[in-house]
Symmetry: C2
Subunit: 191 residues, 2 copies
DNA sequence: TTCCCAACCGAACGATCGTTAGGGTGCGAA
DNA sequence: TTCGCACCCTAACGATCGTTCGGTTGGGAA
């Protein structure tokens, strides 16, 4: 993929994140590149291509974050690292993450199913961490791990709306982690 | 507001939630009402009107939920009721809530500022509950209430993506509440 | 020096968009 | 019986949309 082509995808992701897929015209993307809109079709076949590529990049980034977590860590540590990874992806690739999280429904055709499958797989990988934590006794035995994963994933998925680039996402993830694991009540944190 | 007019707003909210504001055409809304698209302009002045009214209805519903929480309750109970209220609004008015949460950025003009102010005020009301809980000693004294509110609000705001109408939202809210307050760790729940 | 090819231009295409205008219909109040 | 009004239709408007196409350009490989 040529440098120019990557610049095109980057600008498209930026505009899709800012104004939405349907709210962004091919003309605007071309203008961001300093080019006539017809010229874009030397690089792409359709506007959908740009959406798909941004989504694929998002899926790749989120999964790569989980892949980097050492298998031998305790389940709770894996959860902590998963939170860190997720927030870091959002902060570092805010445009891509924003599009990945909220523009996927405008994907059409076969590609849509593929991306949706990647999204489901990501959620399942997170859920598995909580299940593992419960089964290994690191988390309470009566934990409803589906609800727990839902809570953590929901909070993470919402992050694109308030995370600003440059934030200390590791620290923030650790704060989330501490709240989720030990709770907010006064008596819940023995030292 | 006439019955026909309310039906129009309802259908618009449904389509905006399903296909997005820019992804929904006036023609589609008209078709849902069994009417020619030009006929809609006997009821509205512009497509923006429909978006604004859905947003305003969302703001009203979310705030009304908080208004109904008795002032004399302990802060932690208020938090539990706030979670119940939020999830109930999402489940009962899924279309309106979906639009309120993710289509606000397509609002234009003065109305946009008004709706944004209502969104900020809602977040501030939630944050105040956690602050109150900490100050009254119901929550741990070292609680980072901004982060705590962010965590709870993020999870709630994401609910429109997975909540299905007819779900037992009170039960789900209580499960979220229990996880947030007491944590997921094994030793964190004395009886 | 020739050739290739990625990149872009300029102009146009049909389709669809939100909106407007003028006229019609039927029902409830006066 | 008349009137007003809510509601709808048909037709068209200009604007903008995504996309196509033949032609041009410039720099690196041969």
């Amino acid at each position: 993929m040529s440098a120019r082509r990557e610049e095109l995808t980057r600008q498209a992701a930026r505009l899709f994140a800012q104004k939405g897929y349907h709210g962004t015209s091919i003309g605007e993307i071309a203008e961001a590149l300093g080019v006539q809109k017809g010229s874009l079709y030397a690089h792409i076949e359709s506007k959908q291509d740009l959406l798909y590529e941004t989504m694929a990049e998002g899926a790749r980034a989120f999964h790569a974050g989980l892949d980097a977590i050492p298998e031998e860590l305790p389940a709770t540590e894996k959860i902590r690292f998963a939170l860190r990874s997720h927030l870091r992806v959002v902060a570092d690739q805010l445009d891509v993450a924003t599009v990945f999280v909220q523009e996927w429904r405008y994907l059409e055709g076969d590609r849509r199913e593929g991306i949706l499958a990647e999204r489901r797989r990501y959620e399942e990988r997170i859920r598995a961490l909580f299940r593992e934590g419960r089964e290994l006794g690191e988390l309470r035995s009566d934990l409803d791990d589906a609800t727990a994963a839902l809570l953590a994933l929901s909070a993470s998925n919402w992050a694109y709306t308030w995370l600003r680039p440059g934030a200390d996402t590791d620290d923030l993830a650790d704060r989330f982690y501490a709240l989720l694991l030990d709770g907010m009540r006064g008596y819940a944190t023995p030292d």
